[in-house]
Symmetry: C2
Subunit: 451 residues, 2 copies
């Protein structure tokens, strides 16, 4: 028969079993952490009607979307988890209780040009808190805690949650009478790191026709930096000139004020006035998270406060706050940087049982016992040489191998080899279970990511 | 602004938060159970190249498939998890260790006519064991144990794993010289329950031109029933007439022989000669699982032994054995039948904290403490009346509400109300944690499914 050469599409991550186990650990930590903060899991369809998914329309999104006909239906694959959430909340409004806190970890699709580290199918891991009409600032203050808990549980230490408030930016530009131009100005100022202040000023005063004194004001404002207290106290100098600004400063003060109570160490947090994010969408606190030793990766967890989640579907005012982790890309980068802990078990089983007798009853009963005790166990009954079976455990990194011959069966013991140390014990089944569980607990110590 | 009416496509399951929590429990049990038997998780892309996915071609599948162009690429959504597994094993052959045991729980897509309880996007939960060249019968004997453990952990008691062996059927038809017609005969015999033996015989002797005496032989064979021992001993009467038959009988004997050692109670297992399944694909043991009180649902977990997983992609002989649970449909049916346990918690949080002071430090610190102790906690800081906040906890089924006012803060205690009993305690934080955890453990007792 002619064979089709098997392949996986470019831009689609398909992991080997070892890395997949690491990915599963990460996902489990995200699920558990998000749950701790009172978020409920959701799972929405991957396919939606195109008119629903593209209600907002326009932009880069539409070009990248996977869209197709099936019968008469015009369908599309979701390109993020926010639009499906907006649809969900508008559609099921009467069945939900607000504030509505949900997390979702799911695949999304964007037909980007394939390049190294860019994916067309990738996981996003999102949380959002949706209010009905109003939403307290405390939700925005809580989000750094969730980011901190998530990344520190994964094992990261050297990361920084950078926070700003869009009202401060909008209020500041309103003070200068530059509200109309604020979008263009922010995009220009965003290039500060790359092109330097001279060139930024040249563009501001040239292309954007900002007066030289306003340009200086902008550069002075954007240069405000230092510790949180220093930045907040510099911002106090602008108070009283614009209502929106003052409101933003109040909010930022609230976010910073409760950090310690939320368990976020000062070194993992910074007020950063250069962060703007999603110019049209966010209206209050905005977040970015960077790995201090890998600034080139950019933000690994971003989000913010928005005023109107579902405006394309409903007249109801549904403000929210949320963050998103681009999980597939993060996992790829962590792998590239060698930051995935190789010492955590990734084997499919904890124990490989090698029966040494014709009758398999004793071996099978032992496997059943181990499984009842929560030990992941595999019987190896294939017609292979003993050496090959040991090599099988070795290759897969299975930590324990049990031999069960006539001698062991008749004396009611189990021969169990620790593959790492080579140490072999002959103990009763219950004692063997105890030893294995203690060993596994030891092996589980350590975090998924290591710096 | 004109609004787009939000909707979810028909044939796509989208659960409300409560049922979604039940679904998550079920998925977690599947993951944990499959892991106990040494299966490693895999996650393959939802989209594959059409030529890869349809290498086998033809049949109902191709009509139902979601297939589309993106740029120059001819793409399709996976319609099961078996073809992607075949591709995966052929593609990554050199990086895998055999026997290769994997589980996958993932969404698949079939554009079936939408009707009640039929889904176009649905989860399958599969396990497969793939051998390189050969695969021991013990793997086939182990599968009923996995099915039993899975369903009994979910909480089902009244179910039956029905097992047959294709070699017995093929060998039997070969004895009669009816190998050529065996497919048609099996399809006819499959209608026995519906149309009765008279009509089956009429079709056999009419359309299929089987002699009346062979037709009687077939009806006699297919009528063999009773306990496992009775069926096996009736089959012994056919031994020695066909090599394939004898081999199948040996295999079936092995499967039955180790059932008790594998922990499968006799009442959950039955040898059933009427089961054939996937006529082209399966070659040895085949499985179906039925709910005794709901035969109308059909099989909720099916599978079997096959000789050639990846024949469209590679010349290598890769025999395997596997089963699949149609999870979305099963969940739907369990819900319809009222079999999902309503007493297990489905709230997004275990505790709702109501701060009664302007300064939120104490309330936030308490939330942080609870979370550090693994208690899912939500702060309710919205501008709502006290009564509304209690109603919020009530609606969501959050089991504990904590009030934190000046009095409690100054005396270092926490007022905690058990929403089910109305009982309210004032205890120190550590004692409150202890009480809540004990209460939660109590609430977690019981299984997801109840009969």
């Amino acid at each position: 028969m002619a064979k089709m050469t098997p392949r996986t599409l470019s831009g689609f991550m398909e992991l080997l079993p070892g890395p997949q186990q690491q990915m599963e650990r990460i996902m489990e930590i995200l699920r558990r952490t998000y749950s701790l903060y009172g978020f409920t899991p959701l799972d929405t369809p991957v396919i939606e009607s195109s008119e629903v998914l593209l209600a907002k329309g326009g932009g880069e999104t539409e070009k990248q979307i996977y869209r197709f006909q099936k019968g008469d239906a015009d369908l599309a694959l979701r390109f993020d988890l926010t639009v499906p959430l907006a649809k969900y909340v508008a559609l099921h409004y009467n069945d939900l209780t607000f504030p509505f806190r949900r997390y979702q970890i799911g695949k999304v699709y964007r037909g980007e040009r394939a390049q190294r580290g860019r994916f067309r199918e990738f996981y996003q891991a999102d949380i959002d808190i949706i209010g009905d009409g109003r939403l307290s600032i405390i939700n925005e203050a809580e989000i750094p805690a969730i980011i901190y808990k998530t990344f520190s549980t994964l094992g990261l230490k050297r990361f920084q949650i950078r926070v700003n408030n869009r009202k401060i930016l909008n209020g500041f530009y309103a003070m200068l009478g530059l509200t109309e131009k604020s979008g263009d100005i922010m995009r220009t100022v965003d290039k500060l790191d790359k092109i330097g202040p001279e060139k930024v000023k040249a563009i501001l005063t040239g292309d954007l026709a900002v007066t030289p004194s306003d340009a200086d004001e902008i550069l002075k404002f954007i240069a405000i930096s230092g510790g949180n207290d220093a930045v907040l106290s510099a911002l106090e100098g602008y108070r009283g000139r614009n209502e929106i600004f003052d409101q933003g400063l109040e909010e930022l003060n609230t976010v910073v004020r409760y950090l310690a109570d939320f368990g976020v160490p000062a070194e993992n947090f910074a007020v950063d006035l250069t962060i703007a994010r999603g110019l049209d969408y966010y209206t209050g606190t905005v977040y970015e998270t960077t790995l201090l030793d890998h600034p080139e990766i950019g933000s690994v967890c971003s989000g913010g406060r928005y005023d109107n989640l579902a405006e394309y579907y409903t007249d109801r005012q549904l403000p929210g706050a949320g963050i998103s982790i681009g999980l597939t890309r993060l996992f790829y980068v962590l792998g590239e940087q060698g930051m995935l802990n190789p010492d955590l078990p990734t084997a499919p089983a904890d124990v490989l049982i090698l029966p040494m007798t014709e009758d398999l009853s004793a071996a099978i009963s032992l496997a059943t016992l181990l499984r009842e005790n929560g030990i992941r166990s595999q019987l190896h009954c294939e017609e292979k040489k003993f050496k090959q079976k040991i090599a099988y455990a070795d290759k897969l990194g299975i930590p324990y191998v049990i031999f069960l011959g006539e001698d062991e069966i008749s004396s009611g013991v189990v021969a169990c080899k620790d593959m790492a140390t080579g140490e072999q014990t002959k103990l009763e089944p219950a004692a063997t279970v105890y030893r294995i569980k203690a060993g596994l607990a030891e092996r589980e110590k350590g975090t998924v990511i290591q710096e």
